[in-house]
């Protein structure tokens, strides 16, 4: 086909030659083209296939609402499915492909579904594919799935970067047509902070696409002048290529800036897209209006498009949709369209005006009044049109205009519904108050002069007016034109979803007459354009079919996103390893030197084990346990939450937080504490030490540190505001290491400045402020999670690794070994100490065997609710020890417990294993479990049932303390 590029005009740079491919064929376009305009200019009108019937499709629009010309853009990890060719700025080297066809776009086998299309009406699949039952998943559904969907998404990681940013302004103006430019100008001249955003590749809105006259110059020059003024003002931010995607609570707008999508690849250091959250004190929506198609037969055929699109292709892109055109509509703008096309040398065969009369100027072009286009005829391209009265007109393209729908989407994102205007034949935006106003065509102002004035008025700050330039208005008179029922071919409402005008009365007949039900039954409005083109036509047809008014039918719900948004934009830089921040302990460097393998624990990286040559995790952890229990080990416990609690009422406050008592704790001592939730369930545990009369330092578990802090803040501020207490997290100030084992004391002794460590000077549960290594302030606690004679030493974090190295050196003569959380976990299970598996948010103090700790003398969080019958029932699951009867067997965490002879069933389920460990001390697997009435069942033989992994073995219930029951080692 010959070129459809017009000889002159357009905002394209003819001196550039941009090469691109579509389905492998090479084409050339210019800077300023979109992929759609360049394809049209190259005579390529077949751009895609429809969803259900695989009908040949081309562009319907020249903008964001495009439902048909969706392509696969780019390749590899950059491949994007469903990209609107109308929004793709052409770049050299662009690669694109058509979608949803096989074997080719031109010859698409899927089109045979058209033959059976009389069966494939709206909702057909709800009525069939039910027999035989097994066929649905095996046969029908896979076929449907393969047929459905449009483009193919890449399965490779995206190589590009994304960014997020906040922005704040006094006035946000959305849309930069005549309305938006005036609004931004009015606001900006007052000195206020203004952001002007437009999704177009350049600012100017419809002024870039139309032949207008404003202030004695062309609309384009007017726009350029305003933009120049705005860009010179420091209080103005211009955001072209930026779509406002939604309006949210607090007048917060989401926006996506396509920073690099117009390039083959982004510049280094530049993101592909930037997601903005704009906090706007006030915003003006100047989004314009969308032209509606008319439902006539074959209104989806390549060559049929909205009149605005056809004018835009001619004016802005110097591309002709066809050499001869029929213009069809029910309003005055069709005359303008015909004149514009004529001015570009495109032959207009006729203006087909559905109305009997119009005063508009036809510039000598033949006009058929009171006439209707019933069908476009052709196939892959329009060859002619049939009018309802049987007239036949040859043409290559049809420009249609059903009227305008103000783009009210954003104004409806927070729940309000638009209101029908029977004169304008348009849904107008609801009143959202002064923080978010709507101006120009988006508010139903269809004349240019009205748009300029309305924009200026709505943008003005404190009523400060700016001068409004004179302009020339086009005539605007409109009559309803929705559906030409004389059509023979399908008349499409929702192009992409292939829903037709006839589907809507069918839905109504079947009981789906509510607009929301009709939407769901026919899928009208659910495609990527979200009904921007078709919904109002659908409402009109539904109204007629059910004898209701437009308002009675109403619109479906407008929801974000205004246009589809890439996941990457919302993700920003938080991908891959940067999904969440990494939190490292002050001993990280030291642990790394020691060859630690790290494990994610919440956001922390903790040293998990310290393998030596040839060791797996189990061998390493076992060796670490043996070394610790045999002599001395050192473990990083810095991740435990540490909270400084100070003040006159600190003790009283802790008494409220814990079920046991802290106000009586002696200075210089630590105590284990159990914290409940208000519902009586255990929340957290840890030791709290009293450093001074009015100063405690509390520790929490790693997992709950932040939650406990929030609970304290709540308890103090909301429940007990009269207590004179302060608390602050000092977790990060201290590097903390457990030094455990029979040689712990002689090891640490070497670091002490002056302190002679004895059972008297540092007794069990001592908590002392000491000085080490010649003046480093430290805290020394004699605590033990491992069951050994052990200490925890805390030093200011910057010294952490240095001190850990010193401890290693001091312990060298004893064979000191670093141990990680695996070894820690083995030792705690050997000793029956509870941790995450048992503190699972459903256990009580009694379940954990700590019922005696619960005070009955004071008020504390959780006291009352803990006494409910369900929480004191003796048949509750209680913590027990468990070990295989045959020491060669391996019990597994997560196995359930059955009585010795019971068959597996929920009714027979007695509990489950919460944690297991290979005990190098006992030479067998040992575990902890929660077992119904477990404390009374020590010695019972049970089944450890692990059907999930195909294991079942006999195990013995025992005391949770598997090792050193008398705690001799602790006090050794």
């Amino acid at each position: 086909m010959t070129s459809y590029r017009l000889d002159k005009g357009g905002l394209i740079d003819r001196s550039t030659a941009l090469r691109f491919t579509f389905d492998g064929a090479l084409h050339v376009g210019h800077q300023g083209d979109t992929l759609a305009s360049a394809l049209l200019a190259n005579g390529v009108t077949l751009m895609g296939r429809s969803f259900k019937y695989h009908r040949p499709r081309s562009v319907i629009t020249a903008g964001a609402a495009e439902p048909n010309a969706l392509v696969e853009l780019r390749e590899g990890g950059r491949k994007e499915a469903n990209t609107r060719a109308t929004m793709v700025e052409l770049y050299d080297g662009l690669v694109s492909k058509s979608q949803n066809n096989w074997p080719s776009l031109d010859f698409d086998v899927g089109a045979i579904t058209s033959l059976a299309s009389s069966v494939f009406v709206a909702g057909f699949y709800y009525k069939t594919f039910m027999w035989p039952k097994s066929f649905w998943e095996k046969i029908y559904e896979p076929i449907i799935r393969r047929a459905a969907g449009l483009g193919t998404a890449s399965k490779l990681p995206d190589p590009d970067k994304y960014e997020k940013s906040y922005a704040h302004c006094d006035v946000l103006v959305i849309g930069s047509g005549p309305t938006g430019l005036m609004a931004a100008l009015a606001a900006a001249r007052s000195g206020k902070r203004v952001i002007l955003a437009d999704e177009g590749s350049a600012l100017g809105g419809s002024l870039l696409n139309e032949q207008e006259e404003i202030g004695g110059q062309s609309g384009l020059d007017f726009a350029r002048g305003v933009i120049a003024e705005l860009s010179s003002m420091p209080n103005v931010t211009l955001l072209p290529r930026t779509t406002i995607i939604g309006w949210f609570d607090g007048n917060i707008f989401g926006a996506v800036e396509r920073v690099s999508d117009h390039l083959r690849v982004p510049d280094p250091y530049e993101p592909r897209q930037r997601y903005w959250k704009i906090h706007a004190r006030r915003a003006v929506l100047a989004a314009g209006a969308e032209e509606r198609p008319v439902a006539f037969g074959g209104n989806d055929m390549p060559g049929v498009m909205t009149a605005t699109a056809m004018r835009t292709y001619a004016n802005r892109y110097a591309a002709a949709a066809g050499r001869s055109v029929v213009v069809f509509g029910g309003n005055d703008s069709i005359y303008r369209t015909a004149r514009v096309l004529k001015s570009h040398g495109i032959h207009v065969e006729a203006i087909v005006d559905s109305r009997k009369e119009s005063k508009a100027d036809a510039a000598g072009i033949p006009v058929l009044r009171g006439a209707l286009v019933a069908d476009a005829v052709g196939g892959k391209a329009v060859k002619s049109v049939h009018l309802a009265d049987g007239t036949h007109i040859n043409c290559e393209a049809v420009a249609m205009s059903g009227g305008w729908s103000p783009i009210v989407n954003l104004a409806c994102h927070r729940g309000k519904k638009p209101v029908w205007d029977a004169n304008l034949l348009a849904f107008l935006p609801p009143d959202n108050g002064p923080a978010f106003t709507v101006a120009g065509s988006a508010a139903g102002k269809m004349l240019l002069s009205e748009c300029l004035a309305d924009g200026a008025a709505k943008g003005a700050v404190d009523g400060k007016a700016i001068e409004i330039p004179k302009s020339r208005d086009e005539a605007f008179a409109i009559s309803p034109l929705w559906w030409v029922k004389e059509s023979h071919d399908k008349a499409f409402i929702d192009y992409q979803n292939d829903s037709t005008a006839k589907d809507l009365p069918l839905a109504a007949r079947e009981g789906y007459s509510d607009v929301e039900l009709a939407k769901r039954y026919t899928t009208t409005g659910m495609a990527t354009d979200q009904g921007k083109l078709g919904n109002i036509n659908a409402i009109a047809i539904l109204a007629e079919a059910t004898g209701r008014t437009m308002d009675e039918v109403g619109t479906t719900t407008f929801r974000p996103f205004y246009t589809p948004v890439s996941f990457g934009a919302f993700t920003g830089p938080f991908t891959g390893h940067h999904f969440q921040p990494v939190r490292k302990t002050p001993l990280h460097d030291w642990a790394e030197e020691q060859g630690a393998v790290f494990v994610e624990t919440g956001l922390w990286m903790r040293s998990s084990w310290f393998p030596r040559e040839g060791e797996d995790w189990l061998a390493s952890a076992s060796r670490e346990v043996l070394a610790t229990r045999g002599a001395v080990g050192i473990c990083d416990v810095s991740t435990l939450g540490k909270i400084d609690v100070q003040g006159k009422d600190a003790g009283q406050f802790l008494d409220k937080l814990y079920c046991n008592t802290f106000s009586t704790l002696a200075v210089g001592k630590a105590r284990y504490g159990l914290m409940l939730r208000e519902d009586g369930i255990v929340y957290d545990d840890g030791t709290t030490s009293r450093l001074a009369e009015d100063h405690y330092v509390m520790t929490t578990t790693t997992a709950n540190a932040a939650k406990v802090m929030a609970q304290m803040e709540f308890a103090h501020q909301a429940l007990f505001p009269d207590l004179d207490v302060t608390y602050v997290s000092v977790t990060e100030q201290w590097a903390q290491m457990a030094v455990a084992g029979p040689k712990a004391r002689p090891t640490l002794q070497k670091l002490m400045d002056g302190l002679v460590m004895t059972d008297e000077s540092v007794p069990y549960m001592a908590a002392l402020e000491v000085s080490i290594m010649g003046g480093i302030p430290a805290r020394l606690f004699r605590l033990s999670f491992s069951g050994e004679h052990a200490y925890e030493l805390a030093v200011p974090a910057d010294y952490g690794s240095m001190v850990a190295r010193a401890v290693m050196q001091a312990g060298d003569e004893f064979g000191i070994t670093p141990y990680g959380v695996e070894a820690l976990s083995i030792m705690r299970i050997e000793k029956g100490h509870v941790a995450g598996g048992e503190l699972n948010g459903t256990t009580t103090a009694g379940d954990l065997g700590m019922g005696k700790m619960v005070s009955t003398k004071k008020d504390f969080i959780g006291r009352m609710m803990a006494q409910r019958e369900g929480l004191i029932d003796p048949n509750r699951q209680q913590v027990v020890g468990i070990r295989p009867v045959d020491p060669a067997d391996r019990i597994r965490s997560g196995a359930h417990i059955l009585k010795q002879d019971d068959t597996p069933s929920m009714a027979n389920d007695q509990g489950y294993i919460t944690g297991v460990a290979w005990s190098p001390m006992l030479d067998m697997w040992v575990g902890l479990a929660l077992l119904a009435n477990g404390r009374a069942r020590h010695g019972e033989i049970v089944q450890a049932w692990d059907g999930l992994r195909g294991h079942r073995l006999m195990a013995e219930i025992c005391d949770p303390m598997h090792f050193d029951k008398e705690n001799k080692r602790l006090h050794a």
């Binding site: 917060i252 906090h279 208000e678 803040e713 501020q717 909301a718 008020d859 009352m864 609710m865």
Partner: protein, 94 residues
């Protein structure tokens, strides 16, 4: 949604953690006869469609607990006070 923190100024919802209705008051006694009151305090909520006074923690900011007045149907925010002031005012009323 923007929350006017009395300490930090106006901040967006992502900096806050919510804990629901602030109307229930923690009983002051542990007397067994108060069980019903405790149950109501811990478990029952008015859960209004419309205005609510709710606890919000400025967890991503100053870490104060606030009581925010807001409409649960429109998400309109009317204001915020500190939980401390709210509790004291409630106490004074009782």
């Amino acid at each position: 949604m923007l929350i006017p923190c009395p300490h930090c100024g106006t901040r967006p919802v992502e900096e806050f953690t919510f804990l629901g209705d602030a109307a229930p008051t923690r009983p002051t006694t542990n007397d067994p006869s108060s069980m019903e009151a405790w149950y109501e305090y811990v478990y029952l909520r008015n859960n209004p469609r419309g205005p609510i006074e709710e606890y919000a923690h400025h967890s991503g900011g100053c870490r104060s607990w606030l009581v925010v007045s807001r409409n649960t149907e429109t998400h309109e925010v009317f204001g915020a006070v500190t939980a401390r002031d709210f509790s004291k005012a409630k106490e004074a009323k009782a």
